[in-house]
């Protein structure tokens, strides 16, 4: 039998029982649809997290201090200003001199402080950073200027503020040139940062940048830094840079060979892959749960095909009598179940894509549709058609024509 004839016969049979077929098909539709929608949700979550990490800047190494020894990785933003840090400004100067393949480096001196401007006040995170900060974190100045090398050296009381601070403290007014106080110390706002959006671990626009020298001298009152951010020249140089910097810091801290590092170096690429891995697992889990419904749909198909074979016993007998081989009968029923499953798969594709769209636009769930998942899930639906259609088709092909023709 030609493929065209097979397809035609399958369509004829499906049309004969279209309501039953449609209901059975629903299982496949729901299965494929949920696989596509669920993996889109999982993928969307991953994309969001990866985008947030990437927004911190690219090719970053983050050195933070192990001020207290806790199991596992220390928390995202380095230690709070209260605890004693093992990293100091000498480490920063040392690394700046010794690291050969970094393209930028900034200490982070954390000093959460109350901001006061006229009658309004607002609590934001005040970071003492170096001039390199913009380069390291991929940030840009919106209005005004970044503080200069000279201002950094002179411990100038100048500040650059983020967009959230503008809204909250200055009520949207242009802050450049304004005098504010951080704690008791007066600062002049000389620039604003362009918006960066919500980042990994908080609002990237809710911050005030001051020279780290000023932060240490006027705000924190000590030589410690909570973290050092280092930008590698490119992705490839990250690992060598990380090794070099670990070695340098160990030397600087005079750690014995047996001693553990008193600092942690985190590699942004590793963080992304770590997060990706865990969200991959999440996506897989969602997909697997949805895949189960596809299997259940397959059982429905098998059930229907078994009924169809019984109903059409006489037809099968007649077809054998006029010269159909067992393989012709097998293919005919297989074509029917595969066709049903592919139809279900395509409908499911429609529902899955539609579902993802609805989630994205009406429930603000970030989704990301993957062509691969679509192809795989529709392909899997076709496979379900083969897998669950095989047994009924085999039964049909093994019917005894004499018995079958007598069947009523």
């Amino acid at each position: 039998m030609t493929y065209w004839l097979l397809l035609k016969t399958a369509i004829q049979s499906i049309r004969l029982n279209w309501l039953r077929t449609l209901l059975t098909l629903l299982g496949i539709v729901i299965g494929v649809g949920s696989v596509i929608a669920m993996t889109a949700v999982g993928q969307g979550a991953q994309d969001t997290v990866v985008a947030r990490i990437s927004a911190m800047g690219s090719n970053l190494l983050i050195v933070s201090s192990n001020s207290t020894r806790t199991g596992g990785v220390s928390s995202g933003r380095g230690s709070s200003s209260g605890s004693r840090s093992t990293l100091s400004i000498t480490d920063v100067d040392f690394l700046r001199k010794t690291l050969t393949s970094s393209s930028g480096l900034t200490p982070i001196v954390n000093a959460t402080g109350q901001l006061i401007w006229g009658a309004s006040n607002y609590s934001s995170s005040v970071n003492g950073v170096s001039v390199d900060y913009l380069n390291v974190r991929n940030r840009e100045i919106d209005t005004g200027v970044m503080f200069s090398e000279a201002e950094q050296q002179n411990r100038a009381t100048v500040a650059v503020v983020g967009q959230t601070v503008i809204t909250e403290l200055f009520a949207g007014e242009d802050p450049v040139g304004q005098q504010i106080r951080i704690g008791r110390i007066p600062f002049t706002v000389i620039g604003t940062l362009k918006e960066s959006g919500s980042g990994f671990g908080g609002d990237n626009d809710d911050l005030v940048l001051v020279p780290y020298t000023t932060a240490q001298a006027r705000l924190s009152g000590n030589q410690y830094v909570s973290a050092i951010w280092i930008k590698a020249v490119d992705k490839e140089s990250m690992t060598p840079l990380q090794e070099q910097l670990t070695l340098q810091l160990r030397t600087a801290h005079r750690l014995a060979d047996s001693a553990e590092d008193d600092f942690t170096v985190r590699n942004q690429a590793e963080m992304i892959s770590l997060v990706s891995q865990s969200t991959d697992t999440f996506t897989l889990l969602l997909g697997a749960i949805a895949g189960i419904s596809l299997l259940v749909g397959g059982i429905g198909i098998m059930n229907m095909m078994l009924v169809a074979v019984t109903e059409r016993t006489k037809e099968i007998g007649l077809r054998i009598a006029v010269g159909a081989r067992g393989s012709d009968i097998l293919l005919q029923f297989l074509a029917e179940s595969v066709l049903i499953c592919i139809m279900g798969g395509l409908l499911g594709l429609l529902f899955g894509v539609g579902g993802a769209y609805v989630l994205q636009h009406f429930f603000s769930v970030n989704t990301s549709l993957s062509t691969n998942t679509m192809i795989i899930s529709v392909g899997f639906a076709a496979f379900v058609g083969v897998a669950f259609g095989l047994y009924p088709a085999y039964r049909a092909s093994k019917l005894d024509p004499i018995e079958a023709l007598r069947y009523s």
Binding site: Q12, L16, A321, G323, G326, I402
Partner: protein
């Protein structure tokens, strides 16, 4: 395809030959439905095989129709040694050498007359049928249904349905038309028409074999083979077959 099917007919062999054909069923105890049947049927004949129910005639029909295999004996059809063939070859024999006609027509109700007649062509793995439709139309015209191509079985009378079934049997140009009680479900007038159609087809050169329990039908053929208790008990040539009444 095994060689058995491709071989040319053996020289001097009649169209159909069975020798010592036996069939045993296990029904609690062994039951011999056929106990050594010998038959020769030559090309161009119009033969009836007549027997009462339980005579073994249905068993014989199933074996001759390549739907069942004998327990013992040999069967040649159009030069093919049937009892040596595998199931795919048997399917090809049913498709191309035999044309089957059933008492209850066995048309597929959801297909039109034309589609029903085209059905065997789709299962022909050996020959190409560039224009299945034309072949089916020609077969339907031979049985006088050229104007009912797109009717479905439910829209046709019993006689018309049997004509569709005969067209379906003819469409692959078989060497032997095998009809199992072809008039059993028809009123006598229609039965006469169908019998006359068989005679007409036979005059045009088709070999026809009619299996029946009805002596009146057998009397309309050229030769009557009588079966009883699994044996051929009579083989008579009918010199002046009656005109179907």
């Amino acid at each position: 395809m095994s060689n058995a099917f491709k071989e040319a007919a053996e020289a001097g062999m009649p169209l159909l030959r069975v020798r010592g054909l036996t069939k045993m069923y296990h029904l609690g105890e062994d039951f011999w439905a056929l106990r050594g049947v010998d038959i020769d049927i030559h090309e161009g004949e119009l033969v009836s095989i007549i027997g009462q129910s339980g005579s073994g005639k249905s068993t014989l029909l199933n074996i001759l129709g390549c739907l069942d295999r004998p327990t013992g004996g040999d069967y040649w059809l159009a030069g093919h040694h049937i009892n040596k063939m595998n199931s795919d070859d048997l399917a090809a024999v049913r498709n191309q050498v035999l044309g089957f006609i059933f008492q209850s027509f066995h048309l597929l109700p959801r297909l039109t007359a034309l589609e029903n007649v085209m059905l065997p062509l789709g299962y022909d793995h050996l020959r190409k049928h560039p224009d299945m439709r034309a072949a089916a139309v020609a077969a339907l015209e031979r049985t006088g249904l050229g104007d009912k191509l797109n009717n479905r079985p439910t829209q046709m009378s019993g006689g018309q349905q049997q004509r569709v079934a005969i067209a379906r049997a003819l469409v692959n140009k078989p060497s032997l038309l095998m009809a199992d009680e072809p008039t059993g479900n028809l009123d006598s007038n229609t039965a006469r028409d169908i019998l006359n159609l068989f005679k007409e087809l036979n005059r045009q050169g088709t070999t026809v074999m009619i299996i029946t329990h009805d002596p009146n039908i057998a009397a309309n053929t050229n030769r009557k083979i009588e079966v009883r208790d699994g044996l051929v008990i009579g083989d008579t040539k009918i010199e002046h077959p009656g005109v179907a009444a």
